[in-house]
Amino acid sequence: MIELDRRLRLLQAEARDWADEIRPYALAVDRDPDAISSLTRLAVLSRLGGLQIPAEYNPRPLVVSGERFYLTSALERIVFLEEVAVGDLGILLASPGAPMSGVVVDAMGSPEQKEWFFGRLLDRPTWTFFALTEPERGSDASHLQTRLERPAGDGPALLHGHKRYVGNAARADLGVVFARTGRGPLGLGAVLVERDAPGYAAEPIPTLGVRGAQLAAIRLTGVAVSDERVLGRHLPATRRGALGWLRTFNLLRPVVAIMGVGVARATYEYLLRQRQASGGAVRDRLAVMARDIEAVRQLTLRSAVAVDHNADDGHLASAAKVSAARLAERVTVEALEMLGPGARLDHPLLDKLARDARAVEYMEGTSTIQRLGVFKELIRRGAGAEPSQRSG
């Protein structure tokens, strides 16, 4: 069992305060994603965007009782974001900052690119986007159709293509777009794009839940990308292509998993506050629910420790993400059952949690993709082989 030390408990307590601030606005942002712009005084919206930035680029980390937090390790992130997700996942996903694109910029950006990108985030609360998923092809990086082409002559490379289900794309100032730059796995790259670039257009897609995140479709029609906006130009080809940035996704997956845990916990805590949930049978069901949530939370903590130790070791993160997606759906549906007929309309927050829970499945690769990751690792470690030939 993983227990948090004093330092992480301080971080957790701070996050709970931030979460308490956003909880009253969960339904308002669900009904109207633009309501987020009126909440910028709240810490999640005013300060989270200035975190999750590497220490060398962030002079203003979060300081709690003398301890400094940058929220750049997977463990710090999940300890903090679990509590914020319990407050409200929709607002967490709608908050300014670069929780996903910042990881790629940190892994592949040059010092100048990092200075520029993170500087923008520190300047004022700034939304960013992370444009990987494409219509019809999902998040399968090997089949990206968006292309970065260098025209004949001296002009900059031009970006053409379509992206879909990109959080905050319609309100973001800048972000990362993944595109094909040539053939094969090395012919994939990532570039920095600003919203006001000619040829960039983003249109919100109404979704069933996490509506605050305002997922959007992006159309890229000849967006000019100068050389200094192409990530990883200073890196060897093996590190700037998909092989290079796919490993960074391992760092993000525990975060998605903990969001599922957060939704499940929010649901459980909501049930505890209901008077109806007081009978003996209900207490038993709540006890089982609490144990299930803690188990997936522990798995997610283990996955974060694993990727912090080795960014290539993402199989636990895949497993945690599969478990968390299942957990969030199961707990929210069961909670509605426990409250009986009419619960969805009489308990709008619970209904919202049930809708938000389903988002975990689709973020950072579906459960099918994650299961394949778990399977590959199982085989790599020698499952089915003689004990002496197993590696783990």
């Binding site: 019809e136 289900y165 109404p206 009419g342 309309l345 709008p348 389903r358 988002a359 499945e361």
Partner: protein, 230 residues
């Protein structure tokens, strides 16, 4: 070797649950929901045991009466409240604040709602197969992948089982059986929605069908412990 005889009892196609099942599969939730209310009479909203109703905007505008269990009551707009739902074209209303209606009065509607939901889940399977049939991965049509074929077959088997439960009930579904049926439909729907990928999360796509279906079970389900006469 001696073989036995079986008697296949025909399904009465005029039964509300059967009618709504077919309509839901062919026309989707809007057509089936409109018909559900029409079965109670013209310009009437069927109200759930908890005093809530799910209707299309047209009926929300024109209804003059409420069908509460087996009783018709006048509509009192002054006491109504519109409840927010994330599905375009669906109106949720709280029309009464009285205690839940006695279960016995709910007998005909319990099976009708289950039939409607079963039709919607069949529709989701139809749409999922059509959706996947248009997609490929690595140059191979998705429907050629054996793992996906097995997943879809599992859901089809679950559908067949659920259909048999409702057929066997012949329109007389007890509260416990209905709750179990609804739970199973909810989970088969969610597995079906996963087959669409993120498209299954768009508010205007199949997610709306799944969400309306869950709302129907919730709004028109019987209170826990209430049993209708079998």
């Amino acid at each position: 070797m001696t073989t036995g005889w079986v008697v296949t009892r025909g399904v009465d196609a005029t039964q509300p649950w059967h009618l709504l099942q077919g309509l839901a599969r062919e026309q989707g939730w809007q057509g089936a929901l409109t018909r559900l209310h029409a079965l109670a009479g013209s310009d009437v909203m069927v109200v759930g045991p908890g005093g809530q109703a799910l209707v299309c905007p047209e009926l929300a505008r024109t209804a003059v009466g409420l069908h509460v269990g087996g009783t018709r009551l006048p509509r009192d707009r002054a006491r109504e409240r519109v409840l927010p739902v994330p599905v375009a074209g669906l109106v949720a209303l709280r029309v009464r604040s009285e205690p839940p209606t006695a279960a016995a009065e709910w007998h005909p509607w319990t099976a009708a709602i289950a039939g409607l939901r079963l039709g919607l889940t069949y529709r989701l399977l139809d749409q999922a197969v059509a959706h996947l049939g248009r997609r490929s991965s690595g140059g191979v049509p998705l429907l050629h992948h054996q793992a996906l074929q097995v997943s879809i077959a599992d859901l089809a088997v679950e559908h067949l089982e659920l259909g048999c439960v409702l057929d066997t009930a012949q329109g007389r579904l007890g509260a416990t059986a209905a709750a179990d049926l609804h739970r199973r439909i909810t989970w088969v729907d969610r597995k079906l929605l996963h087959l669409f990928g993120a498209y299954g999360y768009e508010a205007d796509g199949p997610a709306a069908t799944g969400h309306v279906s869950e709302l129907l079970a919730d709004t028109y389900g019987l209170p826990r412990g209430e049993e209708v006469p079998a």
